[in-house]
């Protein structure tokens, strides 16, 4: 895992001092709220429904036990004993006091963490495959490039007042576990015919009120040109985006107005210019960073057998464990989706326990996934039983990865000042409706994603079943969408028909699921059946 050197540490420490000064100026009345707001947003501090909310960056979703324990400490000391993992691998605290926010940032800086550029019109936290460094199917570990990008994009002088937010993701496998093409800018690390490593580049994706799936704008970009290329993209957008309508300023709008060909042409022209400037980071810097991500000292000669004689454990292993690149090891997913629980919420005690497990069983590494779950990336198969027992005792052993109970939900109107309707209670009721684990497994892979407003933090556009909360004359109403996906076969969900009230949407989801069970062919997942039969194959079952 990456470790700050004194340069990185000094930058983060300076940021804390700067924000402490800005906060003092606000509290003493030297800054108005209008002046202070963009400053606090650049440090991830929002004013939400009940209090200030702080969004902490977890770069490319990677954490160690010391950092997780610090997050637990902050939850206990400055918040109300819990945190919330988001759909961009970040962590949010919901009950922050402005006067204590600088102290929280100082606590974070003490463990090489920050909240820099987690909000506002800036280049946000870089997300990555949460199996990075562990997945059996990855070409290389994408995180050294994600860390390079973090440094390239931190306090970039030209691109800190962008038209809107800018989200980047990086993966290195054919399977897409990071919703690549729903990002403004996305990189897939690939190998060309000559065996060179480079990037397949996508641009112009995004959810929100105008969802777009990113175009591929480069088939193969040499890694040495990545900073020039990223700057070229940002400059084309920064210079040409509208500035008169906040809803039309995301890069996806420009990309899709210009079209794939013209946007690509402009980027290539700007790239040719940048390459003459020599601003790219050298290979030596990549090598320095990559050394931190060298694989941990995996033991050799370990058994690949897993004793599944405990049936509850067998169910958990079958659902939660993914293939690891090293023989004898496994990737263990920790569900933050208990039946009737709050997606992504985790108590300080659970954070401490997960930190202990990472330390004892996973080379001190943890990952946060964009699906609001956690991952122990490097567990010996022979240790899985002990890990499962500890998780079970802490209420963290649900076996529902990618099943109907593994619902993504934004905080919604229970917390968020932008929301029009509550998301969490809908997720809770659906997970209770489908509580029977055997029924969940029979239904199979089904990704339900719920947003409480059109900003789509709950990724409803990418849900096999998506739900969008809207305000209908002062009451909560819910639209049902079908057919979205955030994987390598990315697709955008479509609205099924008229909306429902709170009870109605849960029934409608169940009718859609039962329709799938009735018409599925052997081996078909929900999304496969939807793609085969289309909306018409579901509509009557849902609306009668």
């Amino acid at each position: 895992m990456y470790k700050y050197d004194h340069y990185d540490q000094a930058m983060v420490d300076a940021r804390v001092a700067e924000f402490r000064d800005q906060t003092r100026r606000r509290i003493e009345g030297h800054l108005t709220d209008d002046q202070f707001k963009p400053l606090r947003l650049k440090n991830g501090l929002y004013l939400q429904l009940h209090a200030y909310m702080l969004r902490v960056a977890i770069p490319y979703g990677t954490l160690d036990s010391r950092q997780m324990r610090k997050l637990a400490h902050i939850a206990r000391t400055y918040d109300r004993g819990y945190g919330h993992f988001t759909t961009r691998q970040n962590l949010q605290y919901n009950w922050v006091k402005l006067e204590e926010a600088p102290d929280i940032l100082a606590e974070l800086a003490s463990v090489e963490m920050h909240a820099i550029q987690t909000s506002g019109e800036s280049i946000r936290n870089i997300s990555a495959d949460h199996y990075a460094g562990a997945a059996a199917d990855e070409l290389i570990d994408p995180r050294p490039w994600a860390e390079m990008l973090r440094q390239m994009t931190t306090f970039h002088p030209e691109f800190s007042y962008l038209p809107r937010k800018f989200k980047i993701a990086v993966i290195a496998s054919a399977a897409d576990r990071a919703a690549l093409r729903w990002h403004d800018f996305a990189l897939r690390i690939v190998e060309n015919a000559s065996g060179e490593i480079g990037f397949e580049v996508f641009a112009g994706g995004g959810m929100g009120r105008t969802p777009f799936i990113a175009f591929r704008i480069r088939e193969f970009l040499p890694t040495a040109q990545i900073f020039s290329y990223l700057q070229a993209v940002l400059r084309v957008w920064n210079r040409n985006a509208r500035r008169d309508n906040i809803h039309k300023q995301r890069m996806k709008i420009l990309v899709h107005e210009l079209g794939q060909e013209e946007f690509t042409r402009q980027v290539e022209a700007e790239l040719a210019h940048y390459l003459t400037l020599g601003t790219d980071f050298p290979q030596a810097e990549y090598d320095r960073i990559a050394a931190y991500f060298a694989p941990p000292p995996f033991e050799t000669g370990l058994s690949d057998e897993i004793d599944r004689s405990d049936p509850d454990f067998a169910v958990w292993v079958n659902q939660q464990v993914a293939a690891h690149k090293a023989p004898g090891y496994a990737i263990a997913n920790i569900s933050l989706k208990p039946i009737g629980g709050i997606a992504g919420d985790i108590s300080a005690e659970q954070m401490d326990l997960v930190a202990d497990l990472a330390e004892r069983f996973s080379f001190d590494e943890l990952r946060a996934s964009h699906a609001q779950n956690l991952v122990l990336p490097h567990v010996r198969k022979t240790d899985l039983y002990a890990v499962w027992q500890a998780l079970r005792d802490a209420g963290l052993a649900d076996a529902n990865l990618d099943l109907v109970g593994d619902i993504i939900a934004c905080p919604g109107l229970d917390y968020c000042s932008l929301a029009n309707a509550r998301s969490i209670p809908i997720a809770q009721q659906i997970s209770e409706r489908f509580a029977d684990p055997a029924r969940q497994r029979d239904i199979g892979e089904l990704k339900i994603k719920i947003s409480g407003c059109i900003n789509a933090c709950g990724h409803h556009h990418a849900g096999h079943i998506g739900i969008l909360g809207v305000d209908k004359k002062g009451s909560e109403s819910y639209q049902l969408l079908l057919g979205g996906s955030g994987d390598e076969e990315t697709s955008q969900a479509r609205i099924a028909g008229p909306g429902f009230d709170e009870a109605g949407i849960v029934d409608a989801v169940e009718r859609a699921v039962e329709r799938y069970r009735a018409v599925r062919e052997p081996g078909e997942r929900f999304i496969d059946t939807y793609r085969r039969v289309g909306m018409d194959g579901f509509k009557e079952a849902i609306y009668g």
Binding site: Y7, D8, A10, A14, T154, P157, E158, F159, R235
Partner: protein, 141 residues
Amino acid sequence: MADPLRFRDDAAADEPAVSLEAFLDQPHATSVRLEAGDDARVLAPALDRIRLVEIDFPKFRDGRGFSSARILREMGYAGEIKATGDVLIDLVAFMRRCGFDSFAPDLPLNPDDVRAALNRYPNVYQPAADGAVPIWQLRHG
């Protein structure tokens, strides 16, 4: 003592800056004003005669002017680049890095605050127009 909001030793241009359109029509004009949406690259053939480029920030959130300044410096322009409009203290350090070397905001800035802002960060991650050595270069010598 030099004006703290001008970071140049030469004499300030005494000719008022004219709009880009007017500038292109006046072969002897030496000061030009770019609005946020103007394309700095059209000045390329005229760079030799320009002494001052003013770049306006209609709202502090409108960051187009950062790119305009970078582009001017990348083209080799060495004259004055002045930021005008809604220039808040928290933009100044980034502006300096992009090549701005004077500031005439709508609301005056406190020179002490400017100095503090410019000295806040010990280093930079990226090379830019100010010649600051990026951290990667410090690391690798």
